[in-house]
């Protein structure tokens, strides 16, 4: 399958403090990728940086290619065409994601006018169709309403409609359901996977909820302290995580079936970005850490077809998981 977007060596620093430390990630057309990790691990920053949406004082370096064309540092008019037109993004907090003083029609039609060749009544008709598509009842009348007249779940639906307005090839969903009730959460995820399937759109689902990612994504990348530490097809990652951090994350999930077991927690806390340990950032919390772990940060290396991990103790870690005494 042809590559849609590829990110290489993407680094971001805020006033000299690195928050993203060389991210490599590629996505194929129509693929659904999950991006998981704790808050502050760089999941959202990766995509905000890729689309040039970070504040100006952020220092960004690396490469982001969309269909082979470099978009990092591209001129503003070109980026404006990419944003919303090729790559759309929806955000976490529905309450503040829409402009409170503009009607839904204004905000939706704005996106349509920017990316679609529609005139006059066709714009409004398309806006109505999109609202229908995302399940906002009485779309014609609701177009004239303001954001505060909708619930959080409805706003997230409108955000999805707005994201779809430009017929994007890729939708970045940044914790789209974190601020919503569990039942609404399920509806929004259902909606996302339906539109994705129907429109053949690729999707990046950023979440700290492993369950959400497991259900909705083909492939998962685990981030820790500004780096990707493991990448694998979803089913394989959940069945057989290799990186000790990924193991820790999955070990902290209650199993749905099988005997009840004690949930494990990862000891310690995420390192402060201003005082990163030399070498592997996870080493201070890692039960398998050995002396070489502190020397240099391991790079993401393939271990099997479609799988990669950034850990020099990967083999030991795998054996430990399988219950084989390490060495």
């Amino acid at each position: 399958m042809p590559q849609l977007i590829s990110i290489a060596g993407l680094s971001v620093a805020f006033s000299g403090v690195p928050v993203l430390r060389g991210v490599d990630l590629a996505l194929q057309k129509g693929e659904a990728l999950g991006l998981v990790g704790e808050s502050g691990s760089g999941k959202s920053v990766t995509w905000l940086a890729a689309l040039g949406l970070l504040p100006r004082h952020a220092q960004v370096s690396g490469s982001v290619r969309l269909d082979g064309r470099e978009i990092l540092g591209a001129p503003a008019p070109e980026l404006d065409q990419v944003r919303g037109g090729r790559v759309a993004m929806i955000f976490q907090d529905p309450a503040s994601a829409l402009n409170p003083v503009l009607t839904i029609r204004k905000q939706l039609c704005e996106a349509l006018a920017l990316h679609r060749d529609l005139q006059g009544n066709a714009v409004k008709a398309e806006a109505r169709r999109l609202l229908d598509l995302v399940g906002i009842p009485d779309a014609g009348r609701r177009l004239e309403a303001y954001p505060h007249e909708f619930s959080g779940g409805q706003i997230q639906r409108i955000m999805i409609a707005m994201a779809l307005a430009g017929n994007p090839d890729l939708l970045i969903a940044d914790e789209p359901t974190t601020a919503l009730d569990a039942t609404i959460q399920a509806q929004i995820l259902e909606l996302l996977s339906t539109v994705r399937r129907e429109l053949g759109m690729a999707m990046v689902l950023i979440s700290h909820d492993l369950g959400v990612v497991a259900e909705n994504c083909d492939r998962v990348a685990v981030m820790y302290a500004g780096r990707i530490v493991e990448e694998a097809p979803s089913n394989q990652l959940f069945a057989d995580p290799v990186h000790p951090y990924a193991q820790g994350l999955i070990g902290a999930l209650p199993p749905l079936d099988g005997p009840r077991r004690r949930l494990t927690a990862i000891p310690g806390t995420v390192p402060d970005p201003a005082h990163m340990p030399s070498g592997c950032a996870f080493a201070p919390r890692c039960t398998l850490a050995a002396e070489p772990c502190g020397l240099s940060a391991p790079s993401l290396a393939p271990i099997a077809d479609g799988r990669a991990v950034a850990c020099i103790r990967a083999e030991a870690s795998r054996r430990a998981l399988l219950g084989i005494a390490a060495e």
Binding site: L53, D80, G84, M89, P100, V101, Y146
Partner: protein, 309 residues
């Protein structure tokens, strides 16, 4: 909606009543008008006759009710100094004051708002720092200091402009400049912080993520939101159009309402002072009402609340 504004207007009326009452009480407590106008050497029977003529020997609550009764009938009393209706004295001064405050108001907006927006959009730049330093200076330097400084430079040293009086348009330049600079500084600061607040909101990022060009993000997404707090400050400024130039008019000997107020207070010319205060209270209250209307117009969330009220 109707009830909402009925409540607002009721509150506005109450504010005016309170202001007038306060002025009445303070002025009556602070000295005897008969003594102030006729002088301490006046014979007692003249003082008594003066008090009787102006109703100053009636019980204070009676004077108060009498005063309100007269206001209700549209009579604001007569000046104790020359016997002319107070309202006439005040009204004939208003054009002179507006000749300073209206152009100053326009300059404040024309200078302050663009400077604030520019500073917010180029936060941390050299221009931002210059704008903010100027704004802090304009904010903290009292208008009489600024006025004297301008006189010193442009009238005394350079001799370009007159230092006081009202003979030509050139006489208006320094007073207008004094009023404009301070106000523009206040406005620039508020506009800047309102803009910065709005630019940090998630919906601005949403608009950018949609592919809206930055210029349009600023004009159609940020400005309408930043207008809401800015309108509050503008409302205060409209409220000071009548009596906001007291100090400046005094420094530049400009015969406006502000000067009249200073003279009337010094002379305990009760009717005139009360008339001016009533006028000021009414401008303030009216401009607040206008601001309330504008809020409803600018912010659909408030419209909704009004609908339920």
């Amino acid at each position: 909606m109707g009830r909402y504004f009925a409540i607002r207007i009721g509150r506005a009326a109450l504010t005016i009543v309170l202001v007038v009452t306060f002025a009445f009480v303070v002025l009556r407590l602070s000295g005897d008008p008969a003594l102030m106008i006729l002088g301490p050497e006046a014979p007692p029977e003249v003082l008594a006759a003066f008090r009787k003529a102006w109703g100053l020997d009636d019980p204070i609550w009676f004077q108060y009710l009498d005063y309100f009764g007269a206001i209700a009938k549209g009579e604001l009393g007569r000046s104790m100094r020359d016997g002319r209706p107070a309202i006439e004295l005040v009204l004939e001064r208003i054009p002179a004051t507006l000749a300073l405050t209206l152009p100053a108001f326009a300059f404040k907006i024309a200078l302050g708002i663009p400077a604030g927006i520019y500073a917010a959009l180029h936060r941390g730049s050299a221009i931002d720092r210059v704008v903010m330093m100027t704004a802090v200076a304009g904010f903290t330097v009292p208008s009489f200091v600024l006025a004297l400084l301008l006189v010193l430079v442009f009238a005394v040293q350079l001799g370009w402009l007159p230092s006081g009086g009202q003979d030509s348009w050139r006489h208006a330049i320094l007073p207008i400049a004094t009023l404009s600079l301070g106000g523009a500084a206040v406005l620039a600061r508020f506009t800047r912080s309102a803009m910065l607040e709005v630019l940090g909101q998630p919906y601005i990022r949403t608009a950018s993520a949609k592919g809206v060009p930055w210029r349009k993000v600023v004009t159609s997404h940020a400005l309408p939101n930043a207008a809401i707090p800015t309108v509050t400050i503008l409302g205060f400024m409209v409220g000071t159009l009548i009596a906001g130039a007291v100090v400046v008019e005094s420094v530049f000997s400009w015969p406006g309402v502000g000067r009249l107020l200073v003279v009337a207070v010094a002379n305990r010319d009760l009717a005139v002072v009360q008339c001016i205060l009533l006028l000021v209270a009414m401008t303030m209250v009216t401009s607040n009402l206008i601001v309330d209307f504008l809020y409803g117009f600018l912010d659909p969330r408030l419209r909704a609340k009004e609908g339920h009220a």
